[in-house]
């Protein structure tokens, strides 16, 4: 038999072809796609859309100068901005038309010292709120103009997270949960599924190295995580008014580190379980409670002390906090250092444990 020269197989070709096989396998599996993308998005719609705490703001159009607003003292001005979404228009007729159509709650203009409020009686509750709110600010301005300190004051506090609108709060947490699910399940089901089908042994008898196989799985899982991120942020911004802050892009490397940490959970589950279903169930058993304890679904700020401590042990908690900090709370990249250390350390320890427990076949 003529022996052809044994060219060293191109490392990259094998790596890319394994990656392509894994990616196709994932995107063609409706269940995987549903649980990785559609299912978490349903929660985003639920929390971000239906429970939208932020939509009680009044939409008011200002025509011409309204010095009363500019002259409000700083604290009053802040609460005015919280209560009123003020836009400026030069077209008085168009602004009135907006109010008639219900696109705006009121149009305001100054006539001498009088604030004239044009509103629609179509929605009586809204019109009452509009009039009441604006009256309150006129009263405040009058008090301020008198030069006397007000005799009484009032402060209001919302019971929801003080600093964030609903969508701002839920997006990073739900994204973290979605990525944790798909990374852990992907790693667990690949490892266990390939072992059961003996594909793992078949690959072991090919020149592909373990490093190529593992890195292909990691790269595909990270790619899936970034697709999840793009869809989450895209939908959040387009449909629910999500506003990203300065260093939001730090969410990308954070998500990569998180993917590694959650893959290590999946690998461990895959190494421990004997069947594919067992591996996926074990991953689920770990990821779902972790998501609750990490504040993916609701804030844990009011939770008892012991729960807070347990929460701090969860890698997802640190990913969620770090992503919130940079993506919606306006913190800088430096705020993520601790989260990186915890996520990568977690991945390293559990990954090493999974390697120790690893078996090529299920026999």
């Amino acid at each position: 038999m003529s022996r052809r020269p044994q060219a060293r197989p191109l490392r990259l070709a094998a790596f890319w072809s394994l990656s392509a096989a894994l990616a196709k396998g994932f995107f063609r599996d409706r269940m995987s796609v549903f649980f990785a993308i559609v299912f978490p998005l349903m929660f985003l719609v639920l929390f971000g859309g239906i429970l939208d705490f932020g939509s009680s703001q009044l939409h008011v159009v200002r025509v011409g100068e309204v010095p009363m607003v500019e002259q409000l003292a700083a604290p009053a001005r802040q609460s005015f901005d919280e209560a009123v979404d003020l836009t400026t228009s030069t077209d008085r007729d168009e602004a009135l038309a907006e109010v008639r159509r219900g696109d705006a709650d009121a149009m305001i203009e100054m006539r001498g010292d009088t604030l004239v409020v044009h509103y629609s009686e179509a929605d009586q509750v809204k019109s009452a709120v509009t009039r009441g709110t604006l009256q309150a600010f006129v009263d405040a301005a009058n008090v301020a103009a008198s030069g006397q300190p007000p005799a009484y004051s009032m402060r209001t506090e919302r019971v929801e997270d003080e600093s964030l609108e609903a969508i701002q709060f839920v997006t990073p947490g739900l994204l973290g949960w979605a990525v944790a699910m798909s990374a852990a399940f992907g790693a667990a089901s690949t490892l266990q599924g390939w072992r059961v089908s003996k594909l793992l042994r078949r690959l072991r008898l090919s020149p592909a190295s373990t490093a190529q196989i593992v890195s292909a799985r990691i790269v595909v899982t990270i790619a899936i995580a970034l697709v999840q991120m793009a869809i989450f942020l895209g939908l959040g911004m387009a449909a629910f008014g999500l506003q990203l802050t300065g260093a939001w892009w730090m969410g990308i490397p954070l998500l990569v580190a998180g993917t590694l940490a959650f893959m290590s959970i999946g690998l461990l589950a895959g190494a421990l379980a004997r069947t594919t279903e067992g591996a996926v169930n074990l991953a689920n058993f770990i990821v779902l409670p972790m998501a609750f304890l990490s504040g993916s679904f609701f804030s844990l700020e009011g939770a008892p002390r012991w729960l807070q401590v347990v929460s701090q042990l969860m890698p997802l908690r640190h990913l969620n906090d770090a992503m919130s900090n940079v993506m919606v709370r306006g913190m800088g990249p430096a705020s993520t250092t601790g989260a990186f250390a915890i996520l990568l350390g977690f991945a390293l320890v559990l990954g090493a444990l999974a390697v120790r427990l690893f078996r090529w076949d299920s026999a």
Binding site: M1, R3, R4, Q6, A7, R8, P9, L10, A13, A14, W16, S17, L18, A20, A21, L22, K24, G25, R28, D29, G193, W194, S197, K198, L199, R201, R202, L203, R204, L205, S206, P207, A208, S209, W360
Partner: protein, 300 residues
Amino acid sequence: MTEAIEARGLRKTYGDLVAVDDLSFTVHEGEFFGILGPNGAGKTTTLEMVEGLRKPDGGEVRLLGETPWPRNASLLPRIGVQLQATSFFERLTAREQIRTFAALYAVPAARADSWLERVGLADKAGTRCEDLSGGQQQRLAIASALVHDPEVVFLDEPTAALDPQARRNLWELLSSLNDSGRTVVLTTHYLDEAEALCDRVAIVDHGRLLQLDSPENLVRGLDAGVRIHVAPEALDLDRARALRGAGEVVDEGTSLMIQTRQPGEVLAALAELDALEGLRVKGATLEDVFLTLTGREYRA
């Protein structure tokens, strides 16, 4: 010339169970070699030790002159393996499947596609492997094992779980695999399959090698003679026993069986008596070899 495979004194135990017990054999280059035995005889374990998937507890293996265990990266491109289960990537089409395997060996996609054609799956190239029939999956698995044109190919029970028709169809493909001088090692629990395909057959049972030779020699060595069957009405037992050249005669109910080493004489005598009704003549098969070797019926 280096032998394709040299196994000496192979031994593997799982707890108390001795799966393979002091097994020695040699496979020549270009040979179609069969390992035949009932389920649980230790065929797969033997194969796994030769391939380098398992470490033998005792003995030694040389595969193409090299040691397969621990994982020998320089050996891997030279061997092709089809494992018992059809091990595929989930949800890929036949073409994507074989191209993925090809890429692991740096084989261009066009060569992979030509293998699909060779195993008769060209029109199924766009079908996902889950939707292929059992026979088609086996063809794809065999093509995937051969895509890098290995010198030695291992086929572990490639026709198990196929219906008889699909099994026969696959034989044609299998028998062509060593045309180009490739060495083929096949395990099977089908006697007819070993007889039809293999140059030499190792018969194993309980992890031990019972006999190793070509199927013809195995049968000839049995010296079992020929069995001639006629209808029971054709002649009675005593006249049958009195026939020239007749050995043992047994009334099997539906037919009368006459064992003989001189079939010519017996047939001539039967013709004289005009007792050829329901005539069937059967030579010995590997089944008889197995029966003689183990003293029990062959059960796959």
